[in-house]
Symmetry: C2
Subunit: 216 residues, 2 copies
DNA sequence: TAGATTGTTAATCGATTAACAATC
DNA sequence: TAGATTGTTAATCGATTAACAATC
């Protein structure tokens, strides 16, 4: 069955999709070819009900009395996540974090092709990371026009993040993966996904002290 | 007014606290000393109602007819987040990502003191990053016993993550900040905060294609 | 067929928003 | 004081869970 024509998938559902994707891949690697929502739920830590609800936002991928075919479901989730397509990506900010992302091979396998990194530091410009060049920031506009960029990964310091975003706003970049601890103002239609490490660490810090805080 | 004795703060509330912390810091830096929930809401993008609800989980920090004293509220949120304390932290896995975190100075300012990094790669062992040594993994147990570690940051590849966690489970580490794309099994009482970059990127990928997906 | 498990509707639960009396 | 804005209760909204008929 094909996808449904619903238009409002909640973000809670969307953020569970990559987890399904990961667990289904693990199952495939373990040569498990069939799974019920109950079993999958036990594995991931979701209720069977939630899994069935989530999947049925996109289509009826299971079979009564049988469950789900792991490979088929994996392919469907991959498609839903847009992994049947390829993406041109660039990294802006070639410091440790930018390099860490450039070096991670997992994204390439999923269809995200890193074309270049950009930086303003002359010591970094000209370098190659896994064969990918670090270019001067002043080449950004030209580069995007020439090659087309789907996703820009912002790994620059906080104070440069909006300035960079303004440049990206003028180009037709589709999405920004933002690692700077700032909320970016983007042009209409550009999608931003934030990874805010500080917020994550402070959440951990809170949780470490919650008991004491609420009983004190 | 001091903290209340409620015991169930929802995780949704908790994850907004670091955002309050960040915006209040920005306001202080801009020498804004007073703010209403309405103004703060406009700034962050929350409703005034939500902000008042959130803050009142922890105490009545405002004043009718006036709003909130920015400095006072900032201090309260800092305390709630546990930032009135110091934390000994270590990084396990001194590759690019581990180094990126080690190089980020923001965490130190918040009271997170990096004591050491650990790795198994002889090319990394013995190095210093911002003056912090990279030690051999086989020194981990001894080091934790000797210095006491509140938070271990796991920046190792996926396949080593659980093995490392098992070591940490035997020691009295309080929290794990996990960057490996895996769900860790931890001993009771240890708190895990995951940063799953793959899941974040796949969410972005989904959102880039949602329109097309749901209309196709 | 009988058993299992889905897809889907209904019930429940929790989080967000609205409203307003309290009060600075 | 009058105006503003909180703290808090009530109403609404949305997400999760439970239940079960459909069906493989």
């Amino acid at each position: 069955m094909g996808g449904k024509n619903l238009s409002n998938i909640s973000i809670a559902v969307v953020r569970r999709l990559p987890k399904y994707h990961r667990y289904l891949k693990d199952l495939l690697d373990k040569e498990v070819y069939r799974i019920s929502s109950k079993e999958l739920g036990k594995l991931i830590g979701f209720t069977a009900s939630q899994i069935r609800q989530d999947l049925n936002c996109f289509g009826g991928f299971g079979q009564q009395g049988y469950g789900y075919n792991v490979e088929e479901l994996y392919k469907e989730i991959s498609r839903i996540l847009g992994l049947n397509k390829n993406y041109n990506i660039i990294i802006i900010g070639a410091g440790n974090l930018g390099q860490a992302i450039a070096n991670y091979t997992g994204f390439g396998k999923l269809g995200f092709e890193l074309l270049a990194l950009f930086d303003i530091d002359p010591r970094l410009i000209g370098m190659k990371i896994k064969g990918i060049p670090v270019l001067n920031m002043d080449k950004l506009d030209e580069f995007i026009s020439e090659h087309g960029v789907d996703i820009a990964i912002v790994c620059a310091p906080k104070d440069f993040a909006q300035e960079i975003t303004d440049k990206l706003n003028k180009k037709n970049v589709r999405g920004i993966w933002n690692f700077a601890p700032a909320d970016l103002n983007v042009a209409e239609g550009i999608i931003v996904e934030n990874v805010n490490l500080s917020e994550s660490l402070l959440t951990l810090s809170y949780l470490l002290n919650e008991k004491e805080l609420l009983s004190g």
